[in-house]
Each structure stands twice: as C-alpha cells, then as structure tokens.
C-alpha cells in the first residue's frame, strides 16, 4: 500500500463506496481491444441513490459487475467500507437486467434463496412472508415463475435482493422490459424499499426520466472509452412530480449533455 492509502481508508469511512481511476478493457472477437471503463472515479455516500445514464457501451454495466465482485478492474482502487472488493458478497446485491428468476423454484423459494444459501432460513423464515406481503405478492407464494407477469417477476427479483438487507444494491436496468405504467408503480416501490432499508442504490438506466425520478445523483457517461462527463445532484423533494418544471428542466439538461456528446 502506498502512503496515501491511510487517507483513502479514512475517506471511505464516510464515503462507503469509492472507485478511483478504474480501468477495465475487453478483447473483442476480432482481436481488437474495447475499453469499457477508463480512469473512472466515483464516490458514493451512505444511503444515496446514484443513477448511471448513457448510451450502450459506456461501461455502466461493467461498473456494476465490478462493484458486485463478478469482475475485477485491471487498474484502480475499488473500496467498499474501506475494504477492497474481492468477489461477490451478499452485502452487495445485484438485480439483473433479465429478471430470470430460478424457474424451478416457486415465488416464495426464489425470495428465500439468499437466506437459504447463507443458512439463515430457519432463523428468519418470517421475513420471507413479510417481504412477500410488502411487495404485494401475497397469494402467489406457490406460483412458478412462468405463471406470473413481468411486473411481478421484477418484484420477486427485487424482493430476492432486498431481503438480504445489503449495504449496496445494484440495479441493472431492472425495469426495462416492463410497460410504462407498471414501471412507474415499481419505481415508487423501489423508493419505498430504499426508504425502509436505506442501502446505497446504483441504478443503470437508459431512461433519463427514470434516473431523475429515482436518483439523488445522476452520473452521465459516454462510451469508447467509458468515462464520466457530468455528475448532477438532484435536490427535488420526494415524492417527485414528473411534470414539475424543475424535473423537466433537469431532464432536458441531461438529454442535452448526452446529445452534445453524440456529435
């Protein structure tokens, strides 16, 4: 460790999640190199919702996978609670883009999967039912995933992660496959869950409105190589009004940023 490491650890005590100069590149099929993230830095305070927006290939999902511990950066520091991230952990939950629940488990068993994996199921059995009730899934405990709607599947996927009470929750476009109406409802549910469990939430989205509606901070990114071009604080009170002038103003700003980068 270098001499600056002490202060970095101090900083992350407050920051909780700290990424500094992260670089991650992949080899393409034709042998060329694709730099997904280049010198990417981000600091996240306790209990914040951060939204990463940007076009495909700007490294948003790569960053989530790095935080989840499913992948490792080639350079840079990635600390959580002052500790470097090494491998996946139940304290960093991940809701995947494709909400493919385990099709061989019922809704209740899907929700309980993490507890069973960690051997906590017998102690905390009651929490499964609580979570199911909280997400409005009561009555569907015994249903198989192929029998429920897309919105419900998203709720089960959220419940599966939130029941672990993780410090960080990574949402990789969890609602992109849903219709606008269901999406709006589940966005409110995510806010409610966040207020109850108070984790850090990192949300990756193509949808600027969703980002502004949910996040405390919106980080705008550009591809090739993936880097950050803006970090906007959203100081609107919750519950937010999508048609409020402030909301629309922020949305327009972000869209303009993205557009100007495209040119």
């Amino acid at each position: 460790m270098d001499e600056g490491s002490h202060s970095v650890v101090e900083e992350t005590r407050q920051r909780q999640l700290l990424a500094r100069d992260i670089t991650r590149a992949f080899i393409n099929e034709d042998g060329s190199e694709l730099v997904a993230l280049k010198d990417f830095s981000l600091e996240i305070n306790k209990g914040q919702i951060i939204a990463l927006v940007g076009p495909s290939g700007c490294g948003k999902s790569t960053f989530l996978r790095l935080v989840a511990g499913l992948d490792e950066p080639q350079a840079g520091t990635l600390l959580y609670n002052g500790q470097p991230i090494a491998g996946p952990s139940p304290d960093r939950g991940f809701v995947f883009q494709q909400t493919n629940l385990y099709p061989w488990l019922t809704v209740a068993n899907n929700v309980a999967f993490g507890l069973k994996a960690r051997g906590l199921y017998h102690e905390q059995k009651h929490r499964v039912q609580e979570m199911i009730d909280l997400m409005g899934l009561s009555g569907f405990e015994k249903a198989w995933p192929h029998q429920i709607s897309g919105g419900m599947a998203s709720r089960v996927a959220l419940a599966q992660t939130f029941i672990q009470d993780p410090g960080v929750i990574l949402l990789d476009e969890p609602l992109s496959a849903l219709d606008a109406f269901t999406r709006a409802i589940i966005q409110d549910e995510i806010v409610a869950l966040w207020q109850q469990f108070e984790p850090i939430i990192i949300l990756v989205s193509h949808d600027v409105e969703e980002a502004v509606y949910l996040a405390d901070r919106v980080v705008v990114m550009t591809p090739r190589p993936g880097r950050q071009i803006a970090d906007l604080a959203i100081d609107l009170p919750r519950p937010r009004e999508r048609t409020a002038p402030d909301f629309i103003q922020i949305r327009r700003e972000i869209l303009q940023l993205l557009k100007s980068e495209e040119r």
């Binding site: 080899i27 099929e29 495909s56």
Partner: protein
C-alpha cells in the same frame, strides 16, 4: 425440451438488440492471423508427444521380451516410428499454420499420455506378462493381427456400414414423416403414439426372431430392426417438439397469411431442430446397438459377429483388432453426426457438445 429453450433464447435475443457487453466479449478467443511465428513455450508444449513416443520407443527397445517366450515383436517399433514421422510433419506445419497449431497445442498433453499408456500396456503384456495371454495380447500382437486380417476387417466393416446406412436412412425418413404427422395431427398421434410406445423401447435383438421369419429374409428383418431403433427416438422427440412449438410463432405466421403446410415446414420444423438434433444422437447410438444385434442374430455377418466368433475361439488378438476398427468407425460416425448438428444449431448457444 431443447426446442422450448431454443425458442426462449431466440425470443430473448430478439427482444433486446444487444446482450450485456462483457459476456459476449469475453468468450471467443481472439482471431489471429493465419500465419504466425510460434513462441518458445508453444514449441516446447508441441514437442510433448515426441517425449511420449521416445520414452515408449526406448522402453520397448531396452526391456527384454519375456512373455510369451521366444516372441519377437515386429510391428510396435515401426508403428511408433511412423507416428513420429507423421507427428513431425504436423509439428512443422503447426510452426507456420496457426489453426493447426492451436489444435495440436490442445492435443499435445493427451497425445503424450496416450503413447505412455500404450507403453505401460506393452510392458504389462509383452515385457512382463502381468496381463496374461490369450485374453490380453500385447500391442504388437494386436497390430500384427490388424495388418494380417486387414482385408477381412475391411470387408466386415463395409458390410456393417451398408446395413447401417440402409436402416438409418429408411428409419430417419419414416421418423421425420411420422414425427411431423404425430406433431401436427391429433388423429395421427392417437394411432401412432401407442405403436411408438410399445414397439420403440423394445430392443432389436428381441424383434429379430420374428422379423427374420416374418420377412422371410434375414437381411430385411435386420434392416427392420434397425429402422425401429432409428424411427422411435426421431418420431418421439420430433412430435413432442412440434407439439410444443410456441403458439405465438404459429399465430404470428397465420396473421402473415401462411398456409398450414407452410407453417409446418417454415415454423414448426425449424423450431424443432434442437430436439431433432438430440433425437439424432439417440437414433445413431441406438442404431449401433441394433446393428450389432442384427449382425449377431440376423444377417450373421459384419464386425460384431466377427468379434463374437473370434472371442468364442479365444483368438483375442483378432478380437482386439476388430474392436479397434469398431471404435474407429462408430466414434467417427458420432463425431460426424455432432458436426452436422453443430452446423444445424450454429445459431444456438449451450447445446450438448461432443
């Protein structure tokens, strides 16, 4: 079963234009130019089979031949030398050609191990007599028998292959027709499926006694047994896959104005291809079983009969030679089948690999 998965994957693929970046990017090996100079490590690894061959050769030459007494091996050393020559040629080519090099690099450990194992076998038989004659002959003896009996082996193999090809092709045609019929028509399914369930799982050896009498020809009876072994899995799995075709696909085609026949050939059959590939595997392996049964109890010719006859008179050198020929033919045919199937399913990920 596979069909359903394939359709789901198809649909998933079409719903989202781009899969998450890291997964698709990490899997395939980078495409390198055709010609490239090898690195030292690669050269060393490529040389591993030489080590195996030379160790085998050295042990074979140095150790005395003790079992059976007064036996002097004539074939094993020349075969090893021929292998050396062939591999040397491959080695030189692999120094230049990248695709061949990659394949040889993958095989190098395996080839080295094979030669060492064969030498252990040589030591266990010829050099020490740990494994006794007549049941387990030395590699030298097996190769000698292979060379001496080569015309007979070739003849038996061609007889086997002819019978197999006839039965397999007829069975495949019948299976495709009845599979499509059962899949599309309730009435056909009602009458064919009981027949399928009754006749299908019963092995050829059981049918042969009555088939040979019933068709009053051992050849036709044997072909009939083969046909059942192929027809059964193809019909069962194909009809299932067709029945399970996603209704959305069919309705979509209907709204586009497709006729029933068009839907069968352009929607249902393509959707059933993964299941068909699975069925082909079972049909092929099953037809090998039926083939040996037919050779033993029906036509009385071919590889399996030769193995049995030579086994009865305890001529195990010849038995081993025939078994080697069988292994070669059957594994080559299976590999070919998997190649066809990989080609058919080149759009699908995660199928049963060979």
């Amino acid at each position: 079963m596979l069909g359903k998965q394939a359709i789901k994957q198809l649909r998933r693929g079409s719903a989202q234009a781009k899969p998450p970046a890291p997964k698709t990017l990490m899997q395939p090996a980078p495409k390198a130019p055709l010609l490239q100079k090898p690195r030292l490590r690669q050269l060393l690894q490529l040389a591993l089979p030489f080590v195996g061959i030379f160790v085998a050769l050295a042990l074979h030459q140095l150790l005395p031949n003790v079992y059976p007494a007064n036996y002097s091996p004539r074939y094993w050393a020349p075969i090893l030398l021929i292998c050396t020559a062939i591999y040397a040629l491959c080695y030189l080519l692999a120094c230049a050609l990248v695709p061949l090099r990659r394949r040889l690099l993958r095989l190098s450990w395996l080839l080295a191990a094979v030669f060492l194992l064969l030498e252990i076998y040589d030591i266990a038989t010829l050099k020490t007599g740990t494994l006794k004659l007549p049941f387990i002959p030395s590699p030298d003896k097996v190769i000698e028998q292979f060379v001496v009996n080569f015309p007979q082996i070739l003849q038996a193999a061609s007889a086997s292959l002819q019978l197999l090809a006839t039965g397999f092709i007829i069975g495949l045609m019948l299976g495709l027709v009845s599979g499509v019929l059962c899949g599309c028509s309730r009435i056909a399914n009602y009458w064919i499926s009981p027949l399928l369930k009754i006749a299908g799982p019963v092995p050829g050896l059981v049918w042969l006694p009555i088939f040979v009498v019933g068709f009053s020809s051992s050849r036709i009876g044997s072909i009939a047994a083969l046909v059942i072994a192929v027809w059964f899995p193809i019909t069962l799995m194909l009809s299932n896959a067709i029945k399970n075709t996603d209704l959305e696909y069919i309705e979509h085609a209907q709204t586009l104005g497709a006729s029933r026949l068009y839907i069968v050939f352009h929607v249902m059959l393509p959707a059933a291809v993964p299941a068909l590939a699975n069925a082909l595997f079972m049909a092929l392996a099953g037809s090998f079983g039926a083939l040996s049964a037919a050779e033993l109890a029906g036509v009385k010719s071919g590889l399996a009969l030769a193995v049995k006859q030579m086994g009865t008179i305890a001529n195990f050198g010849v038995v081993f030679a025939y078994v080697i020929a069988m292994i070669f033919i059957f594994s080559t045919l299976t590999a070919l089948m998997f190649a066809v199937r990989n080609w058919l399913l080149r759009w699908q990920k995660g199928l049963v690999r060979w």
